[in-house]
């Protein structure tokens, strides 16, 4: 009982938009598609919806082959990055539009529209036109349209990207509640790793038309299969460096030597790519940090309660993200401390995680 993509691929001319991919989304699940712009999130969603046909492969829904089925026959709803509503319909008529097309009777339409409006706090503006609403309210209307018809599949394509910060936070908190208790499969595309972590559920990381990993969000984050997944699922970007493990030591940058730690000690001697997430690099030594890096400060970004420091270490940029305010002068020489035990070891040739 799920949506299954079996060896789905999409090519347009000589370009491959989606490499052969298989994915099973269970009923009632919340799934995040995480990837940069042009990673193929929208294409994959449109294939799931039936707006685009895959070049090859099969799509099954509840065991039935729906590959060639047009979107109208699939009971799907979709929310876009742009706020898409019928421009000359009132909010009420906009929310009611999919039900009217389905030919539902008026009393039932009203009951459902009111319920959706209540959930999305749109009741006071049901009579207004979309052009008289704020961006947040316009997107709420579009979301209400998507949930009103009890779709089997609800696709949200970066729905919060065009909203300003405060409205985004607000709607981001409400979204999971809206879909809880529904039997629909929800797919949410985003470029922001933090959104995926916030929503939980499952996450599929996409890179250049390939799904690099799919699984429960927390395990995808903590235990990425390979370096690409770790890179997609890290913001600021994960720090990587070539290390040589010899005995219980890691030789880094040719000069620094770190203890191999809990994870590294178990590995055979050899060369690895070590990935360290920015929040495991701190400006001050703590009781878990065991390594050090030195370099020239390139950028410091101090937000209310957080410091992000970019350090140039022999040509590589290292990023540290830490709580508290740590002012560093740009251009000065600094030493940062690394929690090596939280490092991820990847094979330098295949990119697969080995630890």
């Amino acid at each position: 009982m799920a949506l299954e993509l079996i060896d789905i691929a999409k090519r347009v001319g000589s370009e491959t938009h989606i490499h052969p991919t298989s994915l099973v989304l269970p009923e009632g699940s919340f799934n995040v598609l995480l990837g940069t712009t042009l990673a193929g999130k929208t294409t994959l969603m449109q294939i799931m919806a039936g707006i685009q046909k895959p070049t090859s492969g099969t799509i099954r829904f509840r065991g039935k082959d729906v590959t060639g089925l047009a979107v109208q026959q699939r009971n799907v709803s979709m929310v876009y990055q742009q706020f898409i509503n019928y421009p000359n319909f009132s909010v009420y008529d906009n929310i009611a539009s999919p039900l009217k097309v389905a030919g539902m009777d008026t009393a039932e339409i009203e009951r459902r529209v009111m319920a959706a409006a209540e959930l999305l706090r749109l009741k006071p503006m049901l009579k207004r036109k979309p052009s008289e609403l704020s961006g947040g309210q316009q997107q709420r209307t579009a979301i209400a349209r998507a949930i009103v018809k009890d779709s089997d599949l609800i696709l949200l394509d970066e729905p919060l990207a065009n909203l300003d910060y405060k409205l985004r936070e607000e709607l981001r908190d409400e979204l999971p509640k809206l879909f809880a208790g529904r039997n629909a499969i929800v797919v949410y595309a985003t470029t922001e790793p933090s959104e995926a972590l916030l929503f939980g559920g499952n996450t599929a990381t996409l890179h250049e038309g390939r799904i690099t990993q799919f699984g429960p969000t927390s395990s995808t984050y903590r235990l990425p299969k390979d370096l690409l997944t770790a890179q997609v699922f890290s913001d600021p970007p994960i720090n990587t460096t070539r290390v040589e493990k010899r005995g219980d030591k890691l030789h880094v940058f040719g000069s620094k030597v770190w203890p191999a730690g809990q994870v590294g000690s178990g590995l055979p001697d050899g060369v690895y790519t070590l990935g360290i997430r920015p929040h495991h690099v701190t400006p001050l030594p703590t009781d878990v940090t065991t390594g050090e890096i030195e370099g020239r400060v390139l950028v410091t970004e101090l937000s209310g309660s957080e410091s992000v420091i970019h350090l140039d270490v022999a040509g590589d940029t290292w990023v540290s993200q830490s709580h508290g305010i740590h002012p560093f002068e740009v251009g000065s020489h600094a030493t940062l401390h690394v929690d090596v035990d939280r490092g991820l070891f990847f094979s330098p040739s295949s990119g697969e995680r080995v630890s």
């Binding site: 707006i51 979107v71 742009q82 019928y86 539009s97 999919p98 097309v101």
Partner: protein, 287 residues
């Protein structure tokens, strides 16, 4: 607040004032001047009050050409706006054919107006013209220099050929500006093509269509060159539109006073209709 009063800034807008003065205000005031006075040359003027205006409003010839003008503009709008919209809807949205279509459509707009008149004049000649000969060979009597209906048909056809492209280009630009997501959303909803047109494309094209109708109204209401070259206002005075009437009065009769009054009334009609139309179309937005 520290607001510095600096009157020197006025010097910066002075060139614009000067331009408007010479371009618009002075000529307009000259016309107003003529319309209220009587002159027999020698730079002698006598105050005549509103006589020319009263005369004009009771002038049957003016009524006739105003009526012709209204009919012509209405026909042209009724044909060109839907036709232009329809062509724009049929045009491809992407691919190599887009530029081919656009170039072909833009061609009529690039032809000088008197050349348009001459082209259609020759083409519609009943004995040797492609169009005239073809219609006659179908057994339909056609002669635009003799039959009023033929003349009207040719004038309207010429204007449609010349200006529908403008409507197409405006509508096409409006259509292309609608994000793809709207069409997808409609598809997801299961909306039929007619519903997509009625509830997405048409509302989104409202501003563009308003501009298209305004431009076409003003332009067709002032049509002169093409018609004077094609029919000269004939046969008789069956295609004598307002501007032709005006030029005949001003240059032919050298009745500067009446012609000036005519110009002002002409100008006010266009201004009033445009303003009314624009206000009505944009009423919803203001709320």
């Amino acid at each position: 607040m520290n607001k510095v009063v600096n009157n020197r800034a006025w010097w910066l807008v002075l060139p614009v004032f000067a331009m408007v003065l010479f371009n618009a205000l002075l000529p307009l005031m000259t016309v107003v001047n003529y319309s209220l006075q009587e002159t027999f040359g020698n730079n002698e003027f006598f105050w005549s009050g509103a006589i020319w205006f009263e005369q004009l409003l009771h002038d049957d010839q003016f009524h006739a050409s105003l009526l012709r003008q209204i009919i012509f503009t209405s026909i042209v709008l009724v044909i060109q706006i839907p036709l232009g919209l329809a062509i724009a809807l049929c045009m491809p949205r992407s691919g190599p054919w887009v530029s081919v279509c656009l170039v072909l459509l833009a061609l009529p707009l690039l032809v000088p107006w008197n050349v348009v008149g001459s082209m259609w004049n020759i083409m519609a000649l009943p004995d040797i013209g492609l169009l005239g000969k073809a219609i006659n060979s179908l057994g339909i009597p056609y002669n635009y220099t003799r039959q009023p209906i033929s003349a009207w048909f040719t004038v309207v056809l010429m204007d449609v050929w010349h200006w529908t492209s403008l409507v197409v280009l405006l509508c096409y630009a409006g259509l292309v500006a609608i994000p793809d997501a709207y069409y997808q959303a409609a598809k997801v909803d299961g909306a039929k093509p007619w519903a997509v047109f009625r509830y997405i494309q048409l509302p989104k094209l409202k501003h563009v269509l308003t501009i298209a109708i305004l431009l076409r109204f003003m332009d067709s209401f002032m049509i002169y060159t093409e018609v004077i070259v094609l029919t000269g206002g004939g046969p008789g005075s069956t295609t004598k539109f307002l501007s032709i009437d005006l030029v005949q009065k001003a240059l032919g009769g050298f009745d500067l006073g009446p012609a000036a009054a005519f110009s002002i009334v002409y100008f006010l009609i266009i201004l009033l209709v445009s303003w009314l139309f624009y206000t009505l179309m944009m009423r919803d937005e203001a709320k």
